[in-house]
Point group: D2
Chain length 423, copies 4
């Protein structure tokens, strides 16, 4: 009986899917205590876009720690924080002509979402928030109210209030114009939908099953927000930092969110960090009003600043991602074609793509087989029916293909098994 069996709460989940004890990690690989090597198509749920323990970031971190750089800085000014902010301004905001204030909330995605919802409500004086079917925004009480998953909602064990749900792009099928519906509800004084402070949206719903918001839909959503004087929050926690090719996933749409939330891969090294970007006019916080102890995790600032410097000074990394995303699309389509699109449907965009199985049971079998082949990957979606390829963006093409080979083999093993059972 391990210490985990003895002491750890039953709330643990990934450990159930991958029942080994990991020890080391590098690039796309995880290693367990016995020295086995696993290819990582999970990447800390999108927190390791630059892979595990990236050598350049690692070096910067070791130096910083070695030199007694301040580790914990509350929200005080530190050199490391200043460098991060300057790099963020130079590499990210300025080239995109974006004018935002940076708020450092508690260092997790859900804290960023809580801050975003608070300031939106505070500034507008309205309490309602619109979020979307299958959206995921976090587990603390404010964020989970905006989250669609009943598994997480039920855990709150109180009614979740002040959030109204709208259908995401394509939710009612390709022919139904979900934006028109939303506009009608917001234009109708008796619809029963209270005018919201803000809309919060993901461009690709990661946990929700790799549902993609079309570019036209995002543009239309922005237009509705402007028309009804509603703030637009884009939750880039899983899609940001290059996951879809560009630094922000909304860039191809040209929309200008009022508030943007970032976390996960922001530190680049898997260290806890979160950031809220606010249009300057919205920065109506009073000092310390949204506080927290670990807003100044300087180790994360160091690796984050280094990652920005290393990857985002030009568009080479973006182009590299797009190339790999092309490979990923191509191979997923091939698998889908071979299996039949009713069996496996490709979903997602950029480097957040996957395959939708007929149900969660099939998907679970496939990820189980994949793990037996030392490929770590997970499922998402309302029935956990979507196989999710979320590998580091720094993966080599060879590694990517190797992983997809393992996935393909696992897929057909399971589908053939099912076929055999049926026949």
């Amino acid at each position: 009986m391990t210490i985990f069996d003895k002491l750890e709460s039953k709330v643990q989940s990934y450990a159930l899917s991958f029942p080994v004890t990991f020890h080391k990690a590098s690039g796309c690989y995880l290693y367990d205590e016995a020295g086995n090597e696993y290819l990582d198509f999970l990447a800390g749920c999108g927190s390791l876009n630059y892979g595990h323990n990236h050598p350049v970031l690692k070096q910067a971190l070791l130096e910083y720690i070695g030199n007694d750089g301040i580790a914990h800085g509350l929200d005080m000014h530190t050199r490391a924080k200043g460098v991060f902010m300057q790099n963020f301004q130079d590499a990210i905001l300025a080239p995109r002509d974006m004018d935002y204030r940076l708020q450092f909330p508690g260092p997790t995605g859900t804290n960023a979402v809580e801050a975003a919802l608070k300031i939106a409500r505070k500034v507008t004086g309205r309490t309602n928030i619109i979020s979307f079917t299958n959206g995921f925004h976090g587990a603390t009480l404010g964020a989970v109210a905006a989250t669609g998953n009943s598994y997480h909602r039920d855990a709150a064990a109180v009614p979740l209030t002040n959030v109204t749900r709208m259908p995401f792009c394509g939710y009612y099928g390709q022919d139904a114009d979900t934006l028109n519906m939303m506009d009608k509800l917001l234009s109708d004084a008796s619809s029963g939908i209270d005018r919201p402070a803000a809309v919060i949206v993901e461009t690709v719903q990661g946990e929700g099953g790799l549902n993609v918001a079309a570019i036209a839909w995002l543009k239309g959503l922005e237009k509705i927000c402007r028309k009804h004087n509603i703030l637009l929050i884009v939750d880039e926690i899983q899609t940001g930092c290059g996951r879809t090719g560009t630094f922000f996933s909304f860039e191809p749409s040209g929309i200008q969110p009022d508030i943007i939330t970032l976390s996960k891969s922001l530190s680049g090294y898997g260290l806890p960090m979160a950031l809220v970007l606010l249009k300057p006019a919205l920065d109506q916080w009073k000092p310390g009003q949204h506080n927290g102890t670990f807003r100044g995790n300087n180790h994360a600032f160091v690796t984050a600043a280094t990652a920005l410097d290393h990857y985002w000074r030009d568009d080479r990394f973006s182009r590299e991602i797009e190339k790999k995303a092309g490979i990923l699309s191509h191979r997923l389509k091939k698998i889908s074609d071979q299996a039949g699109v009713t069996q496996l449907r490709p979903k997602g965009r950029g480097m957040i793509q996957g395959l939708q199985c007929k149900n969660g049971a099939i998907a679970k079998k496939i990820t189980g087989r994949a793990f037996a082949r030392k490929l770590i990957m997970e499922t998402s979606g309302n029935d956990d029916q979507v196989l999710k390829c979320l590998c580091p963006l720094t993966i080599t093409e060879a590694e990517l293909n190797e992983g997809l080979d393992r996935l393909a083999t696992s897929v057909f093993e399971v589908l053939d098994d099912n076929l055999r059972k049926v026949s």
Copy 2:
């Protein structure tokens, strides 16, 4: 104009009190970019009980990173996590005969509180939570509802629900028995106080102004909880990890909380980490029900495990803290005696003590003068009227006395000024 002036949100607060840019830190000292040395009586608001960049922890961390130890592990089993859990069992739980499950929520105090409130509500099927006047439990929506401070409550910009407030120990003066009041309300079917899932309490209210729960009061509170079948949550986020002398601040009272929240100094290095301890019967979570990306911050596990090993295998550290706490009490009393107890009243216990000024304006002046003397300290309380000495527990007696000298000088400068103005 610095990058901070240009880009950072107005939500920043400590930076306003300490308008320099820090760079390095070691033990009790912070250093700004110009090389000035500051004595730290703030200690990351209690997150740096072992001081900045403790050399033993630093060495362990450098080795771990250097060896490509896994940094980000979601909630997967990792060797570093296992070592932390084993050390926590051996050094903390076993010697105290405590049987708890360990839940790792998102790595901040507020996430720990959110998890604690959720599971309490889920297990009991009740929605109400009792928290206390002047209590502070975090800034996310679930936690801030349990927080007393209107400054933080107002920021939520929605009504805060499902929490009922009770008077803390001594709130209505020493003669009023606040526990009797609470018992009466809970025993009266028409009081309008819905039977709560849990009570959440701090043994010393850090943000609330160093209000101390008497041992008899804590025992009485536990008795009320048992009588009415209510869970008892002790929030040890600021008081835990030795701040009051013992590892848990409730130890002298002998109570047995159902749920305990820990964070702040848990990692020992200022790294984000949080822990919820649950009586085994309460561990009714389903896998992943309370999730989050950074629950497996392995760097924090490494330093946390090392800190437990280094400081908590025997009671030497506790005795050391008690000795310093004695010095602190003695000197604060002397200052109070000299100024008159109506001017400055000593408050707190262990190494979380301070002086209550007549109002926040005076306290603010004093911390300003202290900063000019390169002493970093803050205020707390409902009017920010309490000077809070929250230095690292590893401070030497000489450093402690030096800090208190600077404080005393600052205090009397301000009080004398005030006196002169009056006369």
Copy 3:
């Protein structure tokens, strides 16, 4: 300056539309203090289905009062209550093969809705309720949360919670299947729509603008409720007591609601009375749990029992209503045809029909002109754009035609005026 000007709250509304002081009333007519006679196409917003001061009911009431029949009976058994219940059983429930328990809530529609929502939540253990766009269910806090109108919602001045809105029949146009949408949301574990205790629906949305739920839609709604194990509440407050031809408006659809709310015309004399019908298995109230002082308004029981006896022992009254409804439909269609359907669109069914104008301003002008012709009628809808003919069901054909003549003249006066302005 009248006593009304001096003392009455600005909350009064009908008095603004009809600025005279009424004194007497009989059948379809209201009389003001000066003796002017007004034809009543408002009928107490549907509370006077049998007209004002119906002679048979009046006689019964005078006798009851004259004989010192008990007027106020709390919820005690009284002979008058017993007679009402027996008549309700014999004339309404038994012939329709309906098995329900009768709950007498406070004597207003909103109290009936509050009771219905409470028992639905209590029995199912769920908190969410589904109500529909443009629905109206009352002004107390529980009922107004289910109401769509933002004018009434805003008056609550707190966030309205525990209700989710769905699109009513035809809300997104005739091609959009709103039931499919609802079914998808309820079938999707990540939709963010918490499984509700109940759905509350009107078969014709009176305040919402005479929107009619198609029979197939009602059947489909019932099917969804059964599939997802959700209670079905039909709010018959405005549509019940024969307004649409049958006693309950849902009868033509053949659905079997779990809970039915009645009020308005139930007493038959305009006296305050309300009734909740519960499937026996749902009658899980404890004694007095939903209480109120005026649940035993025996004067209302007397007139209600008399009305049931007089009108509902056979189907003659229903056939009579249908005949008049036919006249109403025919004439409204003629007006619409003459004006053009884009100018005036007929809406509603049975004796709750009207004409939708292009906007509320036009409709208001028309009702103003009608009042000048001594025709009392009001508007409804999200912009108050729908002219609502809600005359007593006992109106003669001659009176009905007379009223419609006055309406038609008023309509074309206003439309012609508008035309003149445009040209």
Copy 4:
């Protein structure tokens, strides 16, 4: 099996205590179908201050109905309403130098409370309301949140929000100053008590167990409200219309509530009616914002106007009530003295007095014995332990003494029984 057994919901409560079918009523007497005469010490829970079917009111009502006076008037101006308002101005407001606007909500007490809470929140822009331990304000969702009784609260089956509970006068014993506690909480920015829109209070808690707010306490409460800029709502639903001697029960204290709610005995005949009095500056309603069908129950206006005219043009009725209240006090004290104050403690004031038994079981036995003696009375309090004498104010001294004789006999029968069992 009666029709009640077959059809009525289990929510009925009084019918359980008085298992007969009533038929007629006059003055202080109820008559069942068999012709038995019962002395009424319940008076429709305070709705029949002038007794059943008062001949003067009855005559006015018969005439009104006979002459086809308008029965149902929505919120339109009617002569009957005007007369009521004029009489209310002349007999009640003017002599007391009170300047208020009259709002007619739905005709029940709970609707009046809902209206009062809404306008208080709307005008102040705050959501919180303070209500008191053991307070009762109604059963609809907004009102029940302000109600203390868990039996009624639980029936809501959703968390009740936006209300904070404070201890009523004397709640913690005669030595504890509950107003000081309230003031401290409201003055402390970190108490966790959000500044409320309003305080709602009863001067005597009828359902709560005849707890009396001392005059000094009411004055102090008003002072706190003014100090913190909080509206003061006095709920006079049970205590108004002379129950304590003066028309409003707060008159002896000299306070000036911002809002007053009235219902129950307002119509004088037991007919549904409710009234909200608003200081003119608070009348910020928009037309129809708080609506309802039966706001214009003209039969109630007629009897209410007559009652005002008959009883409240001078102070004779008040003096008469005071005299009877003196008899009631005297005799209850005698019973208490004889039984021992630990067995039976007198409570209440004016004509809302009673005896507190050791527990609800004893009280229930006593009211059972009383009913066997044809005395109708009920219990109240958090354990239903308080015998409540709530007879019509028009009772003769002989009838009063007769009822108290029956009560006394019932009391000692039960106490002696208990004694015998013990010995």
